[in-house]
């Protein structure tokens, strides 16, 4: 009898939504502890300056103030963050949680004021006087590379924090043989994740047990615990980290931040709970930025459209510090590992420099590095297609890695576990009515309407395991996850996992997975996340790994407990275990489904001395399993954007948006679709709106949501989603991750659609965001050139 799939694959309503909708969520700011005081950080208005003197005498006299701390005082008690990458191209540097001697970006924390409430702390901070000696700011990569006597970190011999080179195949030879060579420079702006809930941290010290408890809006509680212990010199077994409800992480909250260390330290020093909640201005200028690449790319192809080689030189502006734990190496390495995307490109060269500047540090943000791949490669595919006069869909078909070649080792060194790329393209074309759009496009141009269609085929390596991180040299990321389950005497079960939820419905998905694997009812399952005291060790929630990594651990541990339950039932029912089935909380012989035991009865037996089980069945029904993929489960898909460009206003209107995705086994389709829609929304931001702008003095000009433009509900298209399920051989149930595909694929789909719409003008963009201003400028430039040509012609 095949196992009934009652839970996996079903669009079950999210269990956590009840509490969110009723306003009962418990976020950091909802925490109220007796005697709790508030911290406020004083931040540098200078991009690059020496700190000459800090005078806090006035502030200390202000009402309600408990103290003011600067880098001088804290420095001897809290060690700096010093993330490490095992690579000779990496230059490690210290990030002092409060600036010591020098500030390196606008917004860097210089002092912290603690008062009985936030208002008093902020008011008192106004009277702290800091005397700076401004240094010449290093506002961009070019200045930084040429700044011989203007080091951002004096102890380093260069402002290049990370450099590396990768060569696969023979790129030069391939370029020699090529019929077509195209090169372009691409620029992806600096942007950020912009979670609805800003960062926040509360810390409390229990002097009787010497336990420091840190509540933080974090994606990685274990990493935070380890770092708090190390930097504060506090024994790790006496540090507890709790991530309660978190209102969005998007990679930004996977880092360990200076504020988390300072607040933890102050709670221990003051013996009073201390709270800090980030405001939106701090969030925009001093949490974590992302991307900021300039990539010079060259592609070589034959006349039949076969791509022979890809060569990329990348400059990433990583800001003032290497973020912990990912470092300045994260963007370049992620980018390099996926640049060829779903295509079989035998010859590949990638060189990258991550360069320090006087800006906010760059770290992880959904689609880190990966999002650059379609933006560059898919634009180049379209350019090659045009050059060799092959349809853009056809050139993709001709270059996809064929399904029979998986597992596939790419020239990038990345191993693709499984995939089947053509079906997603075909389905996307059909759904988008590719031929129909092509024919109506001509007609519309006659009416002065410019409609374009853009394709974006992509890959998304998910749930990367230890081997992948080791290869990258990112030795501070644990790269495994764990699950514990505990069946109690009433036959209900508690599950604990190492990946805390950021709002993506993990309590539901994990419960579904467990119900399916154990054969229990969902209402008998409770999922607990985000507490290092109760949850087993692991990586945390990032790089699309919760289902792939922690979910796999959960499947394995469920199967272990299921075996034990079956063995016990076999003993009690006197039926061989192989003939038994567990469904809906009942265990029974497959031949006699009406007889048998409830899980409750069975669990009771396990917790009672009355019954004697065979010796091989130990008492208790609890177990833990950890899991690390042997590589990465590579998801894939094709997105299609159909846009209309208004050439009078430069406004881009997304008419339709199609996403065909393949993330292996789907647990909850509604939640998966939510991930895709959310990712597309953020990708629309990258493509059309979002850019963190600094001036030439290193001053951030987009420090409010008036200036940092993000798409609202009216700008985000309705996404038509279809799924394929190519199972991963690396996970026990074939699942792959899906957290980032939306933002990886969509900027390229939209950008290519804009280029397609503007084909009559020969305009395409290699710099995001494609703002109305950029479109109008390009059209104006184009009409000038045309006017010039016409004039020449007349002469």
């Amino acid at each position: 009898m095949p196992m009934a799939e009652r839970y996996v694959g079903c669009p079950i309503r999210r269990l956590e939504d009840t509490r969110y909708l009723l306003g009962c969520g418990q976020f950091i700011d909802d925490l109220r502890l007796p005697g709790m005081v508030c911290a406020h950080f004083l931040r540098s208005p200078h991009a690059h300056a020496r700190i000459l003197r800090i005078d806090s005498k006035q502030a200390l006299k202000a009402p309600g103030v408990l103290g003011v701390w600067t880098g001088q005082e804290i420095g001897s008690k809290v060690k700096p963050l010093r993330p490490h990458v095992e690579s000779k191209g990496y230059r490690a540097s210290d990030w002092h949680p409060l600036a010591k001697g020098k500030v390196r970006y606008v917004g860097e924390a210089v002092a912290v004021v603690v008062a009985t409430d936030r208002y008093r702390a902020e008011d008192a901070a106004e009277s702290v006087s800091v005397e700076y000696f401004p240094l010449i700011p290093v506002p961009d990569v070019d200045t930084s590379l040429n700044a011989k006597d203007n080091a951002i970190h004096e102890e380093l011999e260069s402002n290049i924090l990370f450099e590396f080179e990768h060569a696969g195949g023979d790129v030069d030879k391939a370029f020699e043989k090529a019929d077509v060579k195209i090169s372009r420079s691409f620029k992806h702006p600096r942007c950020t994740g912009l979670a609805i809930e800003n960062r926040g941290v509360v810390a409390q010290y229990d002097a009787s047990k010497q336990v420091l408890t840190v509540w933080s809006s974090t994606q990685a509680p274990d990493l935070l615990r380890k770092t708090v212990a190390e930097c504060l010199g506090h024994p790790e077994h006496r540090v507890r980290v709790i991530a309660p409800d978190v209102g969005g992480g998007f990679g930004i909250k996977m880092h360990v931040f200076p504020e988390e260390l300072i607040v933890s330290h102050l709670a221990r020093e003051l013996r009073q709970p201390v709270k800090w909640i980030e405001d939106r201005r701090e969030n925009l200028m001093a949490s974590m930025h992302a991307r900021d690449h300039v990539l010079h790319a060259e592609i070589a192809a034959r006349n039949d459209g076969t791509i022979l080689a890809l060569k990329v030189q990348d400059f990433c502006d990583v800001g003032a510090y290497s973020a912990y734990p990912v470092t300045a190496a994260l963007e370049p390495l992620s980018c390099a590992s996926v640049m060829p995307g779903p295509y079989k490109i035998g010859n590949y060269y990638f060189r990258s420099m991550a360069v320090a500047t006087n800006k906010c540090p760059v770290g992880a943000y959904r689609g880190v590095g990966f999002a650059l791949s379609p933006f560059v490669t898919e634009a180049l595919m379209d350019l090659v297609a045009r050059e060799v006069r092959i349809d853009p869909a056809e050139i993709r078909r001709r270059n996809f890695i064929p399904p029979e070649e998986f597992p596939f080792t790419a020239a990038s060194g990345t191993i693709y576990d499984s995939g089947n790329y053509r079906p997603s393209l075909e389905q996307a074309l059909k759904l988008a009515d590719y031929e129909g759009v092509r024919s109506s496009q001509q007609q519309l141009r006659g009416q002065n309407r410019y409609v374009g269609l853009g394709l974006s085929s992509f890959i998304e390596p998910t749930g990367m395991g230890r081997k992948v991180y080791r290869r990258r040299g990112m030795v501070e990321v644990p790269a495994f996850d764990s699950a514990t389950i505990k069946v109690d005497s009433s036959g209900t079960v508690r599950a604990y996992l190492s990946t805390p939820s950021q709002g993506q419905g993990q309590e539901t998905t994990f419960a579904q997975l467990l119900a399916e694997e154990l054969g229990f009812r969902m209402e008998d399952i409770a999922v607990f996340l985000g507490d290092t005291e109760t949850c087993p060790a692991g990586n945390g929630t990032f790089a699309s790994r919760s289902i792939v990594s922690a979910g796999s651990a959960l499947v394995l541990v469920a199967r272990q407990i299921r075996q034990k339950l079956l063995a016990a039932a076999a003993h009690l029912l006197q039926v061989p275990a192989g003939e038994l089935e567990i469904q809906e909380g009942r265990v029974f012989a497959k031949a006699r489904p009406d007889e048998g035991l409830s899980i409750r009865e069975l669990a009771q037996e396990f917790h009672s001395p009355l019954h004697e089980f065979p010796e091989e069945l130990s008492p208790g029904l609890e177990a833990t399993q950890s899991f690390s993929l042997t590589g990465a489960a590579v998801s894939s898909g094709t997105h299609v954007a159909i846009v209309e460009v208004d050439i009078e206003t430069g406004i881009v209107n997304i008419l339709r948006y199609v996403a065909v995705e393949d993330c292996g086994k789907i647990i909850n389709p509604t939640i998966v679709d939510g991930q895709i829609r959310g990712g597309v929304a953020q990708g629309v931001g990258s493509a059309l709106y979002e850019e963190l702008v600094y001036d030439d003095q290193g001053q951030l000009l987009t420090a409010t949501l008036m200036d940092y433009l993000v798409p609202g509900s009216t700008e985000v298209p309705s996404v038509e989603i279809r799924h394929l399920e190519t199972l991963s051989p690396l996970t026990p149930n074939g699942s792959k991750g899906v957290g980032e595909s939306g933002i990886i694929a969509s900027p390229a789909a939209i950008n290519n659609a804009i280029a397609d719409a503007l084909t009559p003008f020969g305009i395409s963009f290699t710099k995001l965001p494609v703002s109305p201003q950029n479109i109008l400028d390009a059209l104006r430039e184009n009409s000038k050139v045309r006017a010039g040509i016409n004039k020449e012609g007349q002469e």
Binding site: P45, H46, A47, V106, E126, M285, L700, L701, T702, D707
Partner: protein, 150 residues
Amino acid sequence: MNLKGTHRMKAKRERVWVFLNDPEVLRQCSPGCQQMTPAADGSNDSYDVLMEVGIGAVKGRYTGKIQITDRIPGTQYKLAVTGNGSAGFLSAEGVIRLEEVGEETLIEYSGQAQVGGLIAGVGQRIMAGVAKQMVGQFFQCLEKAVLKPQ
């Protein structure tokens, strides 16, 4: 950000010069200036100031210095203003030059201003307008003082 402009006054150059060098006039006419006292470090032509300036939505208090240097009597001087406060910092430096045009005086000014921190992040976009307005207010106030019958 560059600041540059002219202002014409119906007064003799010598008289304008006197007023431009009167600390009390400078105090009264610098927009937002709350206090201006001779510098605590005792340096000449240097004043400690307390300013309250609003740039768009960002109203801030700044403590800083006003310093006059490179003086060519009756003709020109260099004026430097710096301020630090909770909303960031501002600094400006420029040359003010007087030219006699018949019975009138043409004041030419040119210099640069810079802001940092919150005022840059929130107010940069409207900075040029605000600076122009403040310079305008300064010269109008100065003109009023100059033209006031003794």
